[in-house]
Protein backbone atom coordinates (compact mmCIF):
# COMPACT_ATOMS: atom_id res chain seq x y z
CA UNK A 1 0.00 0.00 0.00
CA UNK A 2 2.20 2.82 1.22
CA UNK A 3 5.47 2.42 -0.52
CA UNK A 4 7.32 4.98 1.42
CA UNK A 5 6.89 5.99 4.98
CA UNK A 6 6.98 9.62 5.75
CA UNK A 7 7.92 11.16 8.96
CA UNK A 8 4.87 11.55 11.15
CA UNK A 9 2.92 8.60 9.66
CA UNK A 10 1.03 6.58 12.18
CA UNK A 11 2.12 2.99 11.92
CA UNK A 12 0.03 0.27 13.34
CA UNK A 13 2.62 -2.29 14.07
CA UNK A 14 1.60 -5.88 13.53
CA UNK A 15 4.15 -8.06 15.18
CA UNK A 16 3.52 -11.64 14.10
CA UNK A 17 5.04 -12.94 17.30
CA UNK A 18 2.77 -10.79 19.45
CA UNK A 19 -0.26 -12.92 18.66
CA UNK A 20 0.96 -16.17 20.13
CA UNK A 21 -1.90 -16.20 22.61
CA UNK A 22 -4.42 -16.18 19.80
CA UNK A 23 -5.62 -12.61 20.18
CA UNK A 24 -5.44 -12.00 16.46
CA UNK A 25 -9.13 -12.59 15.97
CA UNK A 26 -10.00 -14.46 12.82
CA UNK A 27 -6.72 -14.07 11.04
CA UNK A 28 -4.92 -17.29 10.25
CA UNK A 29 -1.91 -17.73 12.51
CA UNK A 30 1.55 -17.34 11.05
CA UNK A 31 3.28 -20.65 10.45
CA UNK A 32 5.71 -19.88 13.25
CA UNK A 33 2.89 -19.24 15.72
CA UNK A 34 0.99 -22.25 14.45
CA UNK A 35 3.95 -24.52 15.09
CA UNK A 36 4.38 -23.08 18.55
CA UNK A 37 0.73 -23.73 19.33
CA UNK A 38 0.91 -27.30 18.06
CA UNK A 39 3.92 -27.84 20.23
CA UNK A 40 2.15 -26.32 23.22
CA UNK A 41 -0.81 -28.65 22.66
CA UNK A 42 1.41 -31.71 22.60
CA UNK A 43 3.31 -30.54 25.66
CA UNK A 44 0.09 -29.76 27.49
CA UNK A 45 -1.30 -33.22 26.83
CA UNK A 46 1.97 -34.75 27.87
CA UNK A 47 1.88 -32.72 31.06
CA UNK A 48 -1.63 -33.91 31.80
CA UNK A 49 -0.70 -37.54 31.16
CA UNK A 50 2.38 -37.26 33.36
CA UNK A 51 0.47 -35.54 36.14
CA UNK A 52 -2.03 -38.42 36.32
CA UNK A 53 0.75 -40.99 36.02
CA UNK A 54 2.60 -39.41 38.93
CA UNK A 55 -0.40 -39.53 41.27
CA UNK A 56 -0.04 -42.11 44.02
CA UNK A 57 -1.90 -45.30 43.08
CA UNK A 58 -5.24 -45.24 44.95
CA UNK A 59 -5.92 -47.76 47.71
CA UNK A 60 -8.68 -49.38 45.69
CA UNK A 61 -5.97 -50.92 43.50
CA UNK A 62 -4.33 -52.74 46.42
CA UNK A 63 -6.42 -55.91 46.36
CA UNK A 64 -5.79 -56.30 42.67
CA UNK A 65 -2.09 -55.52 43.03
CA UNK A 66 -1.77 -58.20 45.72
CA UNK A 67 -3.45 -60.64 43.40
CA UNK A 68 -1.02 -59.67 40.65
CA UNK A 69 1.87 -60.11 43.07
CA UNK A 70 0.67 -63.65 43.61
CA UNK A 71 0.32 -63.13 47.35
CA UNK A 72 -3.42 -63.45 47.31
CA UNK A 73 -3.75 -65.35 44.10
CA UNK A 74 -7.21 -66.76 43.68
CA UNK A 75 -7.00 -67.63 40.02
CA UNK A 76 -3.47 -68.93 39.48
Amino acid sequence: MADKMREGDVVTAVDPTANAAGRAGNRAPKPQTHRAQQKAITQGLRKFFDSVASEPVPDEFMALLQKIDGKKDADA
Binding site: T42, R46, E55, I68
Partner: protein, 210 residues
Protein backbone atom coordinates in the same frame (compact mmCIF):
# COMPACT_ATOMS: atom_id res chain seq x y z
CA UNK B 1 11.65 -48.43 24.56
CA UNK B 2 12.13 -50.14 21.24
CA UNK B 3 10.78 -53.56 22.01
CA UNK B 4 8.79 -55.16 19.23
CA UNK B 5 5.06 -54.69 19.41
CA UNK B 6 3.07 -57.69 20.48
CA UNK B 7 0.28 -59.08 18.38
CA UNK B 8 -3.27 -58.19 19.28
CA UNK B 9 -4.57 -60.01 22.30
CA UNK B 10 -6.67 -62.50 20.37
CA UNK B 11 -3.62 -64.03 18.79
CA UNK B 12 -2.22 -66.95 20.67
CA UNK B 13 1.28 -67.09 22.05
CA UNK B 14 3.26 -70.18 21.08
CA UNK B 15 3.88 -71.37 24.63
CA UNK B 16 3.03 -70.59 28.24
CA UNK B 17 5.44 -68.39 30.17
CA UNK B 18 8.23 -69.82 32.27
CA UNK B 19 8.18 -69.07 36.01
CA UNK B 20 10.79 -66.37 35.55
CA UNK B 21 8.88 -64.77 32.67
CA UNK B 22 5.69 -64.81 34.66
CA UNK B 23 7.42 -63.10 37.56
CA UNK B 24 8.66 -60.38 35.19
CA UNK B 25 5.21 -60.10 33.69
CA UNK B 26 3.53 -59.62 37.07
CA UNK B 27 6.12 -57.06 38.08
CA UNK B 28 5.61 -55.32 34.75
CA UNK B 29 1.87 -55.07 35.38
CA UNK B 30 2.46 -53.38 38.71
CA UNK B 31 4.91 -50.93 37.13
CA UNK B 32 2.41 -50.04 34.39
CA UNK B 33 -0.41 -49.05 36.77
CA UNK B 34 0.41 -45.31 36.65
CA UNK B 35 0.45 -45.08 32.84
CA UNK B 36 -2.67 -47.22 32.54
CA UNK B 37 -4.46 -44.85 34.90
CA UNK B 38 -3.27 -41.90 32.82
CA UNK B 39 -4.35 -43.43 29.52
CA UNK B 40 -7.73 -44.38 30.99
CA UNK B 41 -8.24 -40.87 32.40
CA UNK B 42 -7.37 -39.36 29.04
CA UNK B 43 -9.96 -41.48 27.28
CA UNK B 44 -12.86 -41.31 29.67
CA UNK B 45 -12.35 -38.14 31.68
CA UNK B 46 -13.83 -39.05 35.01
CA UNK B 47 -11.44 -40.27 37.66
CA UNK B 48 -13.50 -43.08 39.20
CA UNK B 49 -14.57 -44.46 35.86
CA UNK B 50 -11.03 -44.26 34.54
CA UNK B 51 -9.70 -46.12 37.57
CA UNK B 52 -12.33 -48.82 37.08
CA UNK B 53 -11.20 -49.12 33.48
CA UNK B 54 -7.55 -49.39 34.55
CA UNK B 55 -8.44 -52.10 37.06
CA UNK B 56 -10.49 -54.03 34.53
CA UNK B 57 -7.54 -53.86 32.18
CA UNK B 58 -5.14 -55.22 34.80
CA UNK B 59 -7.49 -58.04 35.75
CA UNK B 60 -7.98 -58.96 32.12
CA UNK B 61 -4.24 -58.84 31.45
CA UNK B 62 -3.55 -61.14 34.39
CA UNK B 63 -6.15 -63.59 33.14
CA UNK B 64 -4.81 -63.47 29.59
CA UNK B 65 -1.12 -63.58 30.57
CA UNK B 66 -0.42 -66.69 28.50
CA UNK B 67 -1.25 -64.67 25.40
CA UNK B 68 1.53 -62.18 26.08
CA UNK B 69 4.79 -62.89 24.30
CA UNK B 70 7.66 -62.24 26.70
CA UNK B 71 10.18 -59.80 25.27
CA UNK B 72 7.57 -57.74 23.43
CA UNK B 73 6.23 -54.37 24.47
CA UNK B 74 4.10 -54.90 27.58
CA UNK B 75 2.88 -51.32 27.69
CA UNK B 76 1.55 -51.51 24.14
CA UNK B 77 -0.09 -54.87 24.88
CA UNK B 78 -1.82 -53.41 27.94
CA UNK B 79 -2.93 -50.32 26.02
CA UNK B 80 -4.54 -52.57 23.42
CA UNK B 81 -6.49 -54.34 26.17
CA UNK B 82 -7.44 -51.03 27.78
CA UNK B 83 -8.81 -49.55 24.59
CA UNK B 84 -10.67 -52.77 23.76
CA UNK B 85 -12.31 -52.62 27.19
CA UNK B 86 -13.07 -48.98 26.66
CA UNK B 87 -14.66 -49.48 23.26
CA UNK B 88 -16.67 -52.52 24.30
CA UNK B 89 -18.07 -50.61 27.28
CA UNK B 90 -18.77 -47.74 24.93
CA UNK B 91 -20.71 -49.92 22.53
CA UNK B 92 -22.54 -51.76 25.26
CA UNK B 93 -23.75 -48.55 26.85
CA UNK B 94 -24.44 -46.52 23.75
CA UNK B 95 -28.16 -46.69 24.33
CA UNK B 96 -28.01 -44.86 27.65
CA UNK B 97 -25.78 -42.02 26.50
CA UNK B 98 -28.68 -39.58 26.38
CA UNK B 99 -29.35 -39.93 30.08
CA UNK B 100 -25.89 -38.66 30.86
CA UNK B 101 -26.40 -35.72 28.56
CA UNK B 102 -29.54 -34.86 30.46
CA UNK B 103 -27.79 -35.09 33.80
CA UNK B 104 -25.10 -32.69 32.62
CA UNK B 105 -22.19 -34.47 34.19
CA UNK B 106 -18.81 -32.87 34.36
CA UNK B 107 -15.36 -34.21 33.72
CA UNK B 108 -12.55 -34.77 36.20
CA UNK B 109 -9.95 -34.76 33.47
CA UNK B 110 -8.40 -31.65 34.92
CA UNK B 111 -8.77 -30.74 38.53
CA UNK B 112 -8.10 -27.10 39.37
CA UNK B 113 -6.39 -27.71 42.70
CA UNK B 114 -3.77 -29.87 41.05
CA UNK B 115 -3.16 -27.76 38.00
CA UNK B 116 -2.68 -24.08 38.47
CA UNK B 117 -2.35 -23.31 34.78
CA UNK B 118 -5.58 -22.06 33.30
CA UNK B 119 -4.32 -22.81 29.79
CA UNK B 120 -3.87 -26.46 30.58
CA UNK B 121 -7.35 -26.58 32.01
CA UNK B 122 -8.76 -25.02 28.84
CA UNK B 123 -6.77 -27.45 26.76
CA UNK B 124 -8.14 -30.44 28.60
CA UNK B 125 -11.72 -29.22 28.39
CA UNK B 126 -11.23 -28.80 24.66
CA UNK B 127 -9.60 -32.22 24.52
CA UNK B 128 -12.66 -33.77 26.13
CA UNK B 129 -14.75 -32.53 23.22
CA UNK B 130 -12.82 -34.56 20.69
CA UNK B 131 -14.03 -37.89 19.32
CA UNK B 132 -12.49 -40.86 21.12
CA UNK B 133 -10.32 -41.96 18.23
CA UNK B 134 -8.76 -38.52 18.02
CA UNK B 135 -8.17 -38.43 21.77
CA UNK B 136 -6.34 -41.71 21.76
CA UNK B 137 -4.28 -40.82 18.68
CA UNK B 138 -3.18 -37.59 20.34
CA UNK B 139 -2.42 -39.08 23.73
CA UNK B 140 -0.58 -42.10 22.39
CA UNK B 141 1.65 -39.97 20.18
CA UNK B 142 2.18 -37.18 22.71
CA UNK B 143 5.17 -38.97 24.18
CA UNK B 144 4.47 -42.62 24.93
CA UNK B 145 4.58 -44.07 21.44
CA UNK B 146 5.69 -43.46 17.88
CA UNK B 147 3.12 -43.10 15.09
CA UNK B 148 3.87 -46.68 14.02
CA UNK B 149 3.31 -48.00 17.53
CA UNK B 150 0.13 -45.98 17.98
CA UNK B 151 -1.18 -47.38 14.70
CA UNK B 152 -0.42 -50.93 15.87
CA UNK B 153 -2.17 -50.31 19.19
CA UNK B 154 -5.25 -48.88 17.49
CA UNK B 155 -5.23 -51.49 14.75
CA UNK B 156 -5.21 -48.95 11.93
CA UNK B 157 -2.86 -47.53 9.31
CA UNK B 158 -0.11 -45.06 10.23
CA UNK B 159 -1.67 -42.55 7.85
CA UNK B 160 -4.94 -42.80 9.75
CA UNK B 161 -3.18 -41.97 13.02
CA UNK B 162 -1.41 -39.04 11.39
CA UNK B 163 -4.60 -37.59 10.00
CA UNK B 164 -6.44 -38.07 13.31
CA UNK B 165 -3.64 -36.29 15.15
CA UNK B 166 -3.65 -33.47 12.66
CA UNK B 167 -7.42 -33.01 12.73
CA UNK B 168 -7.44 -33.19 16.52
CA UNK B 169 -4.72 -30.55 16.85
CA UNK B 170 -6.52 -28.20 14.50
CA UNK B 171 -9.76 -28.61 16.41
CA UNK B 172 -8.01 -28.09 19.75
CA UNK B 173 -6.35 -24.98 18.47
CA UNK B 174 -9.60 -23.40 17.38
CA UNK B 175 -11.42 -24.47 20.53
CA UNK B 176 -8.75 -23.05 22.82
CA UNK B 177 -8.69 -19.82 20.84
CA UNK B 178 -12.46 -19.57 21.01
CA UNK B 179 -12.76 -19.49 17.22
CA UNK B 180 -14.81 -22.60 16.87
CA UNK B 181 -17.59 -22.82 19.36
CA UNK B 182 -17.30 -22.21 23.06
CA UNK B 183 -15.73 -24.45 25.63
CA UNK B 184 -18.17 -25.88 28.13
CA UNK B 185 -18.10 -24.25 31.55
CA UNK B 186 -15.86 -25.98 34.06
CA UNK B 187 -18.71 -27.39 36.10
CA UNK B 188 -20.78 -28.90 33.34
CA UNK B 189 -19.82 -31.02 30.44
CA UNK B 190 -23.01 -32.47 29.05
CA UNK B 191 -21.72 -33.19 25.57
CA UNK B 192 -19.48 -36.01 26.63
CA UNK B 193 -21.56 -39.14 27.05
CA UNK B 194 -18.60 -41.25 28.17
CA UNK B 195 -19.71 -41.18 31.77
CA UNK B 196 -22.89 -42.99 30.95
CA UNK B 197 -20.99 -45.58 28.95
CA UNK B 198 -18.92 -46.34 31.95
CA UNK B 199 -21.63 -46.16 34.53
CA UNK B 200 -23.42 -48.73 32.52
CA UNK B 201 -20.30 -50.70 31.68
CA UNK B 202 -19.34 -50.81 35.32
CA UNK B 203 -22.68 -52.06 36.51
CA UNK B 204 -22.37 -54.85 33.97
CA UNK B 205 -18.84 -55.84 34.95
CA UNK B 206 -19.60 -55.64 38.66
CA UNK B 207 -22.17 -58.34 38.26
CA UNK B 208 -19.77 -60.59 36.42
CA UNK B 209 -17.65 -62.77 38.69
CA UNK B 210 -14.06 -61.56 38.73
Amino acid sequence: MNRPLPAHEHQEAPRPMTKEEEKDFRQGLVEMVPVLRAFARSLCGKRDLADDLAQETLAKALQARDKFRPGTNLKAWLFVILRNEFYSNHRRAKTVSNYAAAEGMHSDAMEPEQHASLDLSDLMRAFNQLPFEQKEALILTAGEFSYDEAAAICGCAVGTIKSRVSRARKRLESLVEGKDGVLPARSEHPEDPTDAFFKFGRSVTEKAPG
